[in-house]
Amino acid sequence: MHPIKMAGMAAVLLATAAQAETVFVTLEKDNAIAVLDPVEGKLVKTVPVGQRPRGIAISKDGKTLFVATSDDNLIRMIDSETLKEIGKLPSGEDPETFALSPDGKFMYVSNEDDAEVTVIDIAVKKAVAKVKVGVEPEGITVSPDNKWTISASETTNMLHWIDTNTRQIADNTLVDPRPRAVTFTDDSQQLWATSEMAGTLTIIDAASKQIVQNIKLDVPGVSSDQIQPVGIAIDKERRYGYVAMGPANRVAVINAQTYKVEKFLLVGQRVWNLAFSPDQKRLYTTNGVSNDVSIIDLESLKVTKSVAVGRYPWGVAVKP
Protein backbone atom coordinates (compact mmCIF):
# COMPACT_ATOMS: atom_id res chain seq x y z
CA MET A 1 0.00 0.00 0.00
CA HIS A 2 1.10 3.54 -0.66
CA PRO A 3 2.83 4.95 2.41
CA ILE A 4 0.75 8.14 2.38
CA LYS A 5 -2.46 6.15 2.19
CA MET A 6 -1.29 4.01 5.05
CA ALA A 7 -0.45 7.07 7.10
CA GLY A 8 -3.90 8.44 6.27
CA MET A 9 -5.58 5.26 7.42
CA ALA A 10 -3.53 5.24 10.58
CA ALA A 11 -4.60 8.83 11.23
CA VAL A 12 -8.26 7.87 10.76
CA LEU A 13 -7.86 4.91 13.09
CA LEU A 14 -6.16 7.09 15.67
CA ALA A 15 -8.86 9.71 15.34
CA THR A 16 -11.62 7.17 15.96
CA ALA A 17 -9.65 5.81 18.90
CA ALA A 18 -9.35 9.31 20.28
CA GLN A 19 -13.07 9.90 19.89
CA ALA A 20 -13.91 6.60 21.52
CA GLU A 21 -13.92 7.94 25.03
CA THR A 22 -15.57 11.04 26.44
CA VAL A 23 -15.31 12.42 29.95
CA PHE A 24 -18.18 14.42 31.46
CA VAL A 25 -17.58 16.65 34.46
CA THR A 26 -20.20 18.55 36.46
CA LEU A 27 -19.31 22.16 37.20
CA GLU A 28 -20.99 23.06 40.47
CA LYS A 29 -20.48 26.83 40.12
CA ASP A 30 -20.89 27.19 36.35
CA ASN A 31 -24.17 25.22 36.33
CA ALA A 32 -22.85 23.22 33.42
CA ILE A 33 -21.25 20.01 32.23
CA ALA A 34 -17.75 20.08 30.76
CA VAL A 35 -17.08 17.61 27.93
CA LEU A 36 -13.47 16.44 27.65
CA ASP A 37 -11.44 14.52 25.14
CA PRO A 38 -9.05 12.80 27.59
CA VAL A 39 -6.74 11.36 24.92
CA GLU A 40 -6.05 14.79 23.47
CA GLY A 41 -6.26 16.26 26.96
CA LYS A 42 -8.62 18.98 25.76
CA LEU A 43 -11.88 20.57 26.84
CA VAL A 44 -14.27 20.02 23.93
CA LYS A 45 -17.23 22.08 25.10
CA THR A 46 -19.29 23.20 28.07
CA VAL A 47 -23.05 22.69 28.14
CA PRO A 48 -25.45 24.41 30.59
CA VAL A 49 -27.42 21.88 32.61
CA GLY A 50 -29.30 23.27 35.63
CA GLN A 51 -28.62 24.70 39.06
CA ARG A 52 -25.62 23.39 41.00
CA PRO A 53 -24.91 20.08 39.26
CA ARG A 54 -22.95 17.65 41.45
CA GLY A 55 -23.38 13.87 41.24
CA ILE A 56 -23.13 12.41 37.74
CA ALA A 57 -23.40 8.86 36.35
CA ILE A 58 -23.87 7.23 32.99
CA SER A 59 -26.23 4.39 32.09
CA LYS A 60 -24.74 1.00 31.33
CA ASP A 61 -25.37 1.38 27.59
CA GLY A 62 -23.60 4.75 27.69
CA LYS A 63 -26.58 6.56 26.18
CA THR A 64 -27.99 8.45 29.15
CA LEU A 65 -26.27 10.75 31.60
CA PHE A 66 -27.84 11.30 35.01
CA VAL A 67 -27.00 14.59 36.67
CA ALA A 68 -28.06 15.66 40.15
CA THR A 69 -28.90 19.35 39.86
CA SER A 70 -29.00 20.02 43.59
CA ASP A 71 -30.63 23.47 43.61
CA ASP A 72 -33.36 22.33 41.20
CA ASN A 73 -34.15 19.41 43.54
CA LEU A 74 -34.16 16.89 40.73
CA ILE A 75 -32.04 14.54 38.66
CA ARG A 76 -31.81 15.35 34.98
CA MET A 77 -31.52 12.72 32.26
CA ILE A 78 -29.37 13.87 29.37
CA ASP A 79 -28.69 12.22 26.02
CA SER A 80 -24.95 11.59 26.03
CA GLU A 81 -24.68 12.20 22.25
CA THR A 82 -26.76 15.32 21.72
CA LEU A 83 -26.41 16.55 25.32
CA LYS A 84 -30.09 17.50 25.25
CA GLU A 85 -32.32 16.85 28.25
CA ILE A 86 -34.54 13.82 27.75
CA GLY A 87 -36.19 13.53 31.14
CA LYS A 88 -36.34 14.39 34.84
CA LEU A 89 -36.36 12.18 37.92
CA PRO A 90 -37.98 13.22 41.21
CA SER A 91 -35.07 12.95 43.62
CA GLY A 92 -36.42 14.77 46.64
CA GLU A 93 -34.68 17.75 48.25
CA ASP A 94 -31.10 18.75 47.45
CA PRO A 95 -29.80 15.63 45.68
CA GLU A 96 -26.01 15.43 45.80
CA THR A 97 -24.97 11.84 45.22
CA PHE A 98 -26.81 8.84 43.84
CA ALA A 99 -26.12 5.33 42.62
CA LEU A 100 -27.56 3.18 39.85
CA SER A 101 -28.46 -0.47 40.37
CA PRO A 102 -26.30 -2.83 38.25
CA ASP A 103 -29.28 -3.69 36.02
CA GLY A 104 -29.89 0.02 35.48
CA LYS A 105 -33.53 -0.16 36.63
CA PHE A 106 -33.31 1.71 39.89
CA MET A 107 -31.60 4.78 41.22
CA TYR A 108 -30.80 5.39 44.88
CA VAL A 109 -30.50 9.04 45.92
CA SER A 110 -29.13 10.46 49.19
CA ASN A 111 -31.38 13.17 50.63
CA GLU A 112 -29.05 14.90 53.03
CA ASP A 113 -31.59 17.18 54.73
CA ASP A 114 -34.32 14.57 55.17
CA ALA A 115 -31.99 11.78 56.36
CA GLU A 116 -33.38 9.33 53.87
CA VAL A 117 -32.60 7.47 50.68
CA THR A 118 -35.07 7.81 47.80
CA VAL A 119 -35.47 4.83 45.47
CA ILE A 120 -36.48 5.80 41.93
CA ASP A 121 -37.81 3.48 39.25
CA ILE A 122 -36.04 4.94 36.20
CA ALA A 123 -38.43 3.47 33.60
CA VAL A 124 -41.50 5.15 35.08
CA LYS A 125 -39.53 8.12 36.47
CA LYS A 126 -41.17 7.82 39.87
CA ALA A 127 -39.99 7.51 43.46
CA VAL A 128 -41.08 4.07 44.60
CA ALA A 129 -39.67 3.99 48.12
CA LYS A 130 -37.98 6.02 50.82
CA VAL A 131 -35.63 4.48 53.36
CA LYS A 132 -34.90 6.31 56.62
CA VAL A 133 -31.17 6.41 57.35
CA GLY A 134 -28.78 8.26 59.68
CA VAL A 135 -28.18 12.00 59.79
CA GLU A 136 -26.79 13.61 56.62
CA PRO A 137 -26.53 10.67 54.23
CA GLU A 138 -23.89 11.31 51.60
CA GLY A 139 -21.98 8.48 49.90
CA ILE A 140 -24.11 5.80 48.28
CA THR A 141 -23.38 2.71 46.22
CA VAL A 142 -24.96 -0.55 45.10
CA SER A 143 -22.97 -3.80 45.17
CA PRO A 144 -22.28 -5.24 41.70
CA ASP A 145 -24.21 -8.41 42.70
CA ASN A 146 -27.22 -6.17 43.49
CA LYS A 147 -27.54 -7.47 47.05
CA TRP A 148 -26.75 -4.34 49.01
CA THR A 149 -27.22 -0.62 48.78
CA ILE A 150 -24.89 1.19 51.12
CA SER A 151 -25.67 4.64 52.44
CA ALA A 152 -23.04 6.52 54.48
CA SER A 153 -24.29 9.02 57.07
CA GLU A 154 -21.83 11.85 57.58
CA THR A 155 -23.01 12.79 61.05
CA THR A 156 -24.06 9.40 62.40
CA ASN A 157 -20.69 8.03 61.20
CA MET A 158 -22.38 4.90 60.01
CA LEU A 159 -22.68 2.78 56.91
CA HIS A 160 -26.20 1.45 56.51
CA TRP A 161 -26.59 -1.87 54.72
CA ILE A 162 -29.89 -1.66 52.87
CA ASP A 163 -31.16 -4.97 51.48
CA THR A 164 -32.05 -4.18 47.85
CA ASN A 165 -34.92 -6.66 47.85
CA THR A 166 -36.67 -5.66 51.06
CA ARG A 167 -35.45 -2.02 51.03
CA GLN A 168 -34.90 -2.31 54.78
CA ILE A 169 -31.72 -1.63 56.72
CA ALA A 170 -30.28 -5.03 57.56
CA ASP A 171 -27.15 -3.91 59.36
CA ASN A 172 -25.00 -0.91 60.28
CA THR A 173 -21.26 -0.49 60.47
CA LEU A 174 -19.74 2.23 62.63
CA VAL A 175 -16.78 3.91 60.90
CA ASP A 176 -14.46 6.89 61.48
CA PRO A 177 -15.88 10.45 61.58
CA ARG A 178 -17.59 11.84 58.52
CA PRO A 179 -17.77 8.96 56.07
CA ARG A 180 -17.98 10.34 52.55
CA ALA A 181 -17.69 7.86 49.71
CA VAL A 182 -18.41 4.12 49.55
CA THR A 183 -17.46 1.69 46.78
CA PHE A 184 -17.61 -2.08 46.38
CA THR A 185 -14.87 -4.12 44.78
CA ASP A 186 -15.96 -5.59 41.44
CA ASP A 187 -16.48 -9.04 43.02
CA SER A 188 -18.79 -7.49 45.67
CA GLN A 189 -16.67 -9.05 48.41
CA GLN A 190 -15.32 -5.85 49.91
CA LEU A 191 -16.68 -2.44 50.70
CA TRP A 192 -14.28 0.50 50.86
CA ALA A 193 -15.29 3.68 52.71
CA THR A 194 -13.45 6.98 53.21
CA SER A 195 -13.77 9.10 56.34
CA GLU A 196 -13.17 12.73 55.59
CA MET A 197 -12.46 14.04 59.09
CA ALA A 198 -10.40 11.11 60.31
CA GLY A 199 -8.36 10.94 57.11
CA THR A 200 -8.86 7.20 56.90
CA LEU A 201 -9.96 4.49 54.52
CA THR A 202 -11.89 1.56 55.97
CA ILE A 203 -12.08 -1.77 54.17
CA ILE A 204 -14.97 -4.03 55.16
CA ASP A 205 -15.64 -7.66 54.33
CA ALA A 206 -19.11 -7.75 52.75
CA ALA A 207 -20.00 -11.25 53.94
CA SER A 208 -19.19 -10.77 57.62
CA LYS A 209 -19.59 -6.97 57.61
CA GLN A 210 -16.45 -6.82 59.72
CA ILE A 211 -13.69 -4.25 59.24
CA VAL A 212 -10.72 -5.92 57.57
CA GLN A 213 -8.40 -2.95 57.53
CA ASN A 214 -8.31 0.69 58.55
CA ILE A 215 -5.71 2.75 56.71
CA LYS A 216 -4.64 6.13 58.02
CA LEU A 217 -3.59 8.32 55.11
CA ASP A 218 -0.61 10.49 55.89
CA VAL A 219 1.49 12.54 53.50
CA PRO A 220 4.91 13.79 54.69
CA GLY A 221 4.94 17.58 54.72
CA VAL A 222 1.16 17.95 54.57
CA SER A 223 -0.71 18.75 57.78
CA SER A 224 -3.23 16.10 58.82
CA ASP A 225 -6.23 18.48 58.72
CA GLN A 226 -5.68 18.80 54.99
CA ILE A 227 -6.00 15.08 54.47
CA GLN A 228 -9.68 14.62 53.72
CA PRO A 229 -10.23 11.50 51.65
CA VAL A 230 -13.36 11.39 49.51
CA GLY A 231 -13.65 9.57 46.15
CA ILE A 232 -12.61 5.95 45.69
CA ALA A 233 -11.90 3.89 42.57
CA ILE A 234 -10.87 0.22 42.65
CA ASP A 235 -9.71 -1.60 39.53
CA LYS A 236 -11.57 -4.67 38.26
CA GLU A 237 -8.82 -7.14 39.21
CA ARG A 238 -8.63 -5.58 42.68
CA ARG A 239 -4.94 -4.87 42.30
CA TYR A 240 -5.06 -1.21 43.21
CA GLY A 241 -7.47 1.15 44.85
CA TYR A 242 -7.23 4.91 44.40
CA VAL A 243 -8.42 7.46 46.93
CA ALA A 244 -8.87 11.20 46.27
CA MET A 245 -7.47 13.09 49.26
CA GLY A 246 -9.24 16.47 49.03
CA PRO A 247 -7.14 19.50 50.04
CA ALA A 248 -4.00 17.33 50.30
CA ASN A 249 -4.08 17.61 46.47
CA ARG A 250 -3.16 13.97 46.04
CA VAL A 251 -4.50 10.63 44.97
CA ALA A 252 -3.34 7.75 47.16
CA VAL A 253 -2.42 4.57 45.33
CA ILE A 254 -3.25 1.64 47.60
CA ASN A 255 -2.26 -1.94 46.96
CA ALA A 256 -5.59 -3.74 47.27
CA GLN A 257 -3.92 -7.00 48.29
CA THR A 258 -1.47 -5.81 50.95
CA TYR A 259 -3.38 -2.60 51.88
CA LYS A 260 -0.14 -0.62 51.72
CA VAL A 261 -0.15 2.91 50.36
CA GLU A 262 2.36 2.62 47.56
CA LYS A 263 2.40 6.13 46.20
CA PHE A 264 0.83 9.57 46.36
CA LEU A 265 0.18 11.30 43.06
CA LEU A 266 0.11 15.08 43.06
CA VAL A 267 -2.96 16.45 41.26
CA GLY A 268 -4.90 19.74 41.36
CA GLN A 269 -6.35 21.44 44.42
CA ARG A 270 -9.08 19.77 46.52
CA VAL A 271 -9.44 16.58 44.55
CA TRP A 272 -12.81 14.97 45.19
CA ASN A 273 -14.05 12.43 42.72
CA LEU A 274 -12.44 9.82 40.50
CA ALA A 275 -13.35 7.81 37.41
CA PHE A 276 -11.53 5.20 35.35
CA SER A 277 -11.24 5.15 31.57
CA PRO A 278 -13.14 2.11 30.16
CA ASP A 279 -9.86 0.17 29.72
CA GLN A 280 -8.79 1.24 33.24
CA LYS A 281 -5.52 2.57 31.92
CA ARG A 282 -6.28 6.11 32.99
CA LEU A 283 -7.88 7.74 36.00
CA TYR A 284 -9.61 11.13 35.92
CA THR A 285 -9.86 13.38 38.96
CA THR A 286 -12.02 16.45 39.60
CA ASN A 287 -10.09 19.22 41.35
CA GLY A 288 -12.66 21.59 42.85
CA VAL A 289 -10.45 24.52 43.84
CA SER A 290 -7.98 24.63 40.96
CA ASN A 291 -10.89 24.18 38.50
CA ASP A 292 -9.30 21.41 36.49
CA VAL A 293 -9.30 17.69 35.81
CA SER A 294 -6.06 15.73 36.23
CA ILE A 295 -5.37 12.78 33.96
CA ILE A 296 -3.37 9.95 35.54
CA ASP A 297 -1.65 7.30 33.45
CA LEU A 298 -2.06 4.16 35.56
CA GLU A 299 0.60 2.11 33.80
CA SER A 300 3.38 4.52 34.72
CA LEU A 301 1.49 5.92 37.75
CA LYS A 302 2.18 9.44 36.56
CA VAL A 303 -0.05 12.47 36.26
CA THR A 304 0.25 13.36 32.60
CA LYS A 305 -1.86 16.49 32.37
CA SER A 306 -4.25 18.77 34.19
CA VAL A 307 -6.92 20.33 31.99
CA ALA A 308 -8.81 23.49 32.98
CA VAL A 309 -12.56 22.76 32.76
CA GLY A 310 -14.54 25.51 34.53
CA ARG A 311 -15.53 26.51 38.05
CA TYR A 312 -15.81 23.92 40.82
CA PRO A 313 -15.60 20.63 38.96
CA TRP A 314 -17.40 18.09 41.16
CA GLY A 315 -18.42 14.75 39.66
CA VAL A 316 -17.03 12.79 36.74
CA ALA A 317 -18.47 10.11 34.43
CA VAL A 318 -16.85 8.40 31.44
CA LYS A 319 -18.62 7.31 28.26
CA PRO A 320 -16.83 4.45 26.46
Partner: protein, 269 residues
Protein backbone atom coordinates in the same frame (compact mmCIF):
# COMPACT_ATOMS: atom_id res chain seq x y z
CA UNK B 1 47.63 17.82 6.93
CA UNK B 2 46.47 21.11 8.32
CA UNK B 3 43.07 19.65 9.23
CA UNK B 4 44.82 16.83 11.08
CA UNK B 5 46.70 19.46 12.99
CA UNK B 6 43.48 21.06 14.19
CA UNK B 7 42.07 17.68 15.10
CA UNK B 8 45.11 16.71 17.12
CA UNK B 9 45.04 19.98 19.00
CA UNK B 10 41.34 19.58 19.87
CA UNK B 11 41.85 16.01 21.00
CA UNK B 12 44.81 17.12 23.08
CA UNK B 13 42.93 19.89 24.82
CA UNK B 14 39.68 17.99 25.35
CA UNK B 15 41.62 14.90 26.40
CA UNK B 16 43.62 16.87 28.93
CA UNK B 17 40.50 18.38 30.42
CA UNK B 18 38.69 15.05 30.64
CA UNK B 19 41.76 13.38 32.09
CA UNK B 20 42.06 16.13 34.65
CA UNK B 21 38.40 15.69 35.45
CA UNK B 22 38.70 11.92 35.84
CA UNK B 23 41.82 12.16 37.97
CA UNK B 24 40.35 14.76 40.27
CA UNK B 25 37.67 12.59 41.76
CA UNK B 26 37.02 15.13 44.48
CA UNK B 27 36.16 17.63 41.80
CA UNK B 28 33.60 15.27 40.32
CA UNK B 29 32.10 14.51 43.70
CA UNK B 30 32.04 18.13 44.80
CA UNK B 31 30.50 19.17 41.50
CA UNK B 32 27.69 16.70 42.22
CA UNK B 33 27.40 17.35 45.93
CA UNK B 34 26.55 21.03 45.41
CA UNK B 35 23.38 20.52 43.35
CA UNK B 36 22.43 17.44 45.37
CA UNK B 37 22.54 19.44 48.59
CA UNK B 38 20.26 21.97 46.93
CA UNK B 39 17.95 19.21 45.82
CA UNK B 40 17.80 17.16 49.00
CA UNK B 41 18.10 19.93 51.59
CA UNK B 42 17.04 23.26 50.15
CA UNK B 43 14.24 21.95 47.94
CA UNK B 44 13.08 19.52 50.64
CA UNK B 45 12.79 22.35 53.15
CA UNK B 46 10.94 24.39 50.58
CA UNK B 47 8.84 21.45 49.38
CA UNK B 48 5.68 23.28 48.34
CA UNK B 49 3.98 20.03 49.28
CA UNK B 50 0.68 21.12 47.81
CA UNK B 51 2.13 21.63 44.35
CA UNK B 52 3.25 24.52 42.16
CA UNK B 53 0.77 26.10 39.73
CA UNK B 54 0.98 24.92 36.15
CA UNK B 55 3.25 26.90 33.80
CA UNK B 56 4.80 25.67 30.53
CA UNK B 57 6.50 23.32 29.85
CA UNK B 58 4.77 21.50 32.73
CA UNK B 59 1.29 20.22 31.98
CA UNK B 60 0.28 19.41 35.51
CA UNK B 61 1.12 20.25 39.13
CA UNK B 62 4.67 19.56 40.24
CA UNK B 63 6.66 19.48 43.44
CA UNK B 64 9.39 22.03 44.02
CA UNK B 65 12.06 19.34 43.59
CA UNK B 66 10.87 18.84 40.03
CA UNK B 67 10.87 22.56 39.32
CA UNK B 68 14.34 23.17 40.65
CA UNK B 69 16.04 20.30 38.75
CA UNK B 70 16.67 22.17 35.44
CA UNK B 71 17.89 25.13 37.51
CA UNK B 72 20.38 22.88 39.26
CA UNK B 73 21.58 21.56 35.88
CA UNK B 74 22.17 25.23 35.02
CA UNK B 75 24.06 25.57 38.31
CA UNK B 76 26.31 22.64 37.40
CA UNK B 77 27.10 24.20 34.03
CA UNK B 78 27.60 27.63 35.55
CA UNK B 79 30.07 26.45 38.19
CA UNK B 80 31.76 24.23 35.65
CA UNK B 81 32.12 27.09 33.19
CA UNK B 82 33.59 29.30 35.87
CA UNK B 83 35.87 26.55 37.11
CA UNK B 84 37.37 25.81 33.71
CA UNK B 85 38.05 29.48 33.20
CA UNK B 86 39.58 29.55 36.65
CA UNK B 87 41.90 26.85 35.40
CA UNK B 88 42.81 29.18 32.51
CA UNK B 89 44.04 31.74 34.99
CA UNK B 90 45.90 28.99 36.80
CA UNK B 91 47.41 27.77 33.53
CA UNK B 92 48.54 31.28 32.80
CA UNK B 93 50.19 31.62 36.17
CA UNK B 94 51.84 28.22 35.91
CA UNK B 95 53.08 28.77 32.35
CA UNK B 96 51.25 25.93 30.61
CA UNK B 97 49.14 28.55 28.90
CA UNK B 98 52.23 29.74 27.06
CA UNK B 99 52.80 26.27 25.74
CA UNK B 100 49.27 26.24 24.38
CA UNK B 101 49.47 29.70 22.92
CA UNK B 102 52.67 29.05 20.94
CA UNK B 103 50.90 26.25 19.14
CA UNK B 104 50.68 27.33 15.47
CA UNK B 105 46.92 27.42 15.35
CA UNK B 106 44.62 30.42 15.52
CA UNK B 107 43.92 31.59 19.03
CA UNK B 108 40.13 31.55 18.59
CA UNK B 109 40.40 27.89 17.72
CA UNK B 110 42.39 27.11 20.82
CA UNK B 111 39.87 28.97 22.96
CA UNK B 112 36.99 27.11 21.33
CA UNK B 113 38.69 23.79 21.98
CA UNK B 114 39.17 24.79 25.57
CA UNK B 115 35.50 25.67 25.75
CA UNK B 116 34.38 22.37 24.24
CA UNK B 117 36.57 20.54 26.70
CA UNK B 118 35.02 22.37 29.64
CA UNK B 119 31.49 21.86 28.33
CA UNK B 120 32.05 18.11 27.86
CA UNK B 121 32.90 17.86 31.54
CA UNK B 122 29.80 19.87 32.50
CA UNK B 123 27.51 17.70 30.38
CA UNK B 124 28.90 14.54 31.99
CA UNK B 125 28.24 15.99 35.42
CA UNK B 126 24.72 16.98 34.37
CA UNK B 127 23.82 13.47 33.28
CA UNK B 128 25.24 12.02 36.50
CA UNK B 129 23.01 14.45 38.41
CA UNK B 130 19.97 13.52 36.31
CA UNK B 131 20.67 9.86 37.07
CA UNK B 132 20.55 10.48 40.80
CA UNK B 133 17.47 12.68 40.42
CA UNK B 134 15.77 9.80 38.55
CA UNK B 135 16.31 7.55 41.54
CA UNK B 136 14.82 10.32 43.71
CA UNK B 137 11.65 10.01 41.58
CA UNK B 138 12.29 13.14 39.53
CA UNK B 139 11.61 11.59 36.15
CA UNK B 140 11.11 13.28 32.80
CA UNK B 141 9.91 11.58 29.59
CA UNK B 142 12.66 9.35 28.19
CA UNK B 143 13.11 11.33 24.98
CA UNK B 144 13.62 14.41 27.13
CA UNK B 145 16.98 12.98 28.14
CA UNK B 146 17.98 13.01 24.47
CA UNK B 147 16.56 16.44 23.67
CA UNK B 148 18.32 17.90 26.65
CA UNK B 149 21.79 17.10 25.23
CA UNK B 150 21.98 19.95 22.69
CA UNK B 151 20.44 22.29 25.27
CA UNK B 152 23.07 21.31 27.84
CA UNK B 153 25.86 21.73 25.28
CA UNK B 154 24.68 25.17 24.20
CA UNK B 155 24.05 26.35 27.77
CA UNK B 156 27.45 24.97 28.81
CA UNK B 157 29.19 26.72 25.91
CA UNK B 158 27.47 30.01 26.71
CA UNK B 159 28.37 29.91 30.39
CA UNK B 160 31.88 28.66 29.57
CA UNK B 161 32.32 31.58 27.15
CA UNK B 162 31.29 33.93 29.94
CA UNK B 163 33.93 32.31 32.12
CA UNK B 164 36.56 32.72 29.40
CA UNK B 165 35.64 36.36 29.02
CA UNK B 166 36.00 36.88 32.75
CA UNK B 167 39.28 35.03 32.85
CA UNK B 168 40.67 37.38 30.20
CA UNK B 169 40.12 40.22 32.64
CA UNK B 170 41.76 38.53 35.55
CA UNK B 171 45.43 38.58 36.05
CA UNK B 172 45.80 36.60 39.23
CA UNK B 173 44.02 33.67 40.80
CA UNK B 174 43.25 35.67 43.94
CA UNK B 175 41.09 38.10 42.01
CA UNK B 176 38.92 35.31 40.82
CA UNK B 177 37.02 34.70 44.04
CA UNK B 178 35.60 38.21 43.97
CA UNK B 179 34.43 37.85 40.40
CA UNK B 180 32.84 34.53 41.25
CA UNK B 181 30.81 36.22 43.95
CA UNK B 182 29.92 39.15 41.74
CA UNK B 183 29.00 36.96 38.81
CA UNK B 184 27.81 33.55 39.99
CA UNK B 185 25.52 34.61 42.80
CA UNK B 186 23.66 37.38 40.97
CA UNK B 187 23.35 35.21 37.86
CA UNK B 188 22.02 32.27 39.83
CA UNK B 189 19.69 34.02 42.25
CA UNK B 190 18.31 36.53 39.76
CA UNK B 191 17.09 33.79 37.48
CA UNK B 192 14.28 31.30 36.96
CA UNK B 193 16.46 28.50 38.37
CA UNK B 194 14.91 28.72 41.84
CA UNK B 195 11.57 30.45 41.29
CA UNK B 196 9.26 30.72 38.31
CA UNK B 197 9.01 34.16 36.68
CA UNK B 198 5.43 34.73 37.81
CA UNK B 199 6.51 34.16 41.40
CA UNK B 200 9.38 36.66 41.06
CA UNK B 201 6.92 39.16 39.57
CA UNK B 202 4.78 38.92 42.69
CA UNK B 203 7.65 40.24 44.79
CA UNK B 204 9.37 42.76 42.54
CA UNK B 205 8.87 44.12 39.05
CA UNK B 206 12.55 45.08 38.68
CA UNK B 207 13.71 41.66 39.76
CA UNK B 208 11.29 40.15 37.29
CA UNK B 209 12.77 42.17 34.40
CA UNK B 210 16.33 41.35 35.46
CA UNK B 211 15.52 37.66 35.74
CA UNK B 212 13.78 37.68 32.39
CA UNK B 213 16.80 39.07 30.53
CA UNK B 214 19.37 37.18 32.53
CA UNK B 215 21.12 34.89 30.02
CA UNK B 216 21.36 32.26 32.75
CA UNK B 217 17.53 32.24 33.03
CA UNK B 218 17.24 31.72 29.31
CA UNK B 219 19.73 28.85 29.40
CA UNK B 220 17.81 27.24 32.28
CA UNK B 221 14.49 27.62 30.43
CA UNK B 222 16.03 26.08 27.30
CA UNK B 223 17.09 23.08 29.40
CA UNK B 224 13.74 22.94 31.22
CA UNK B 225 11.71 22.85 27.99
CA UNK B 226 14.07 20.35 26.32
CA UNK B 227 13.77 17.99 29.29
CA UNK B 228 10.02 17.88 28.67
CA UNK B 229 10.44 17.39 24.92
CA UNK B 230 9.54 20.95 24.11
CA UNK B 231 11.33 23.65 22.19
CA UNK B 232 11.64 27.18 23.51
CA UNK B 233 12.66 29.34 20.57
CA UNK B 234 13.11 32.55 22.52
CA UNK B 235 15.40 30.84 25.01
CA UNK B 236 17.40 29.29 22.18
CA UNK B 237 17.91 32.58 20.31
CA UNK B 238 18.76 34.41 23.50
CA UNK B 239 21.27 31.76 24.58
CA UNK B 240 22.92 31.62 21.13
CA UNK B 241 23.17 35.44 21.05
CA UNK B 242 24.68 35.51 24.54
CA UNK B 243 27.17 32.80 23.54
CA UNK B 244 28.29 34.69 20.41
CA UNK B 245 28.61 37.91 22.39
CA UNK B 246 30.65 36.38 25.22
CA UNK B 247 32.78 34.28 22.89
CA UNK B 248 33.52 37.22 20.57
CA UNK B 249 34.50 39.38 23.51
CA UNK B 250 36.64 36.57 24.99
CA UNK B 251 38.52 36.07 21.71
CA UNK B 252 39.06 39.79 21.56
CA UNK B 253 40.15 39.76 25.18
CA UNK B 254 42.71 37.05 24.53
CA UNK B 255 44.09 38.80 21.44
CA UNK B 256 47.60 39.96 22.41
CA UNK B 257 47.54 43.05 20.21
CA UNK B 258 44.05 44.32 21.00
CA UNK B 259 42.60 42.86 24.12
CA UNK B 260 43.00 42.95 27.81
CA UNK B 261 46.41 41.33 27.59
CA UNK B 262 47.84 44.63 26.37
CA UNK B 263 46.27 46.65 29.15
CA UNK B 264 47.59 44.23 31.69
CA UNK B 265 51.02 44.45 30.06
CA UNK B 266 50.83 40.75 29.62
CA UNK B 267 50.84 40.63 25.85
CA UNK B 268 53.87 38.47 25.87
CA UNK B 269 52.86 36.56 29.01
Amino acid sequence: MRLLHYWRATIGIVGRELLRFLHQRERFVSALVRPLVWLFVFAAGFRAALGIAIAPPYETYILYEVYITPGLLGMILLFNGMQSSLSMVYDREMGSMRMLMVCPLPRWFLLCSKLIAGTAVGVLQSYAFLGIAWLYDIQAPLMGYVWILPALVLAGMMLGALGLLLSSFIKQLENFAGVMNFVIFPLFFMSTALYPLWKIKESSEILHTLAQYNPFSQAVELIRFALYEQFNQQALLFTVAAFLLFMGAAILGYNPSKGMMVKKGGGGD
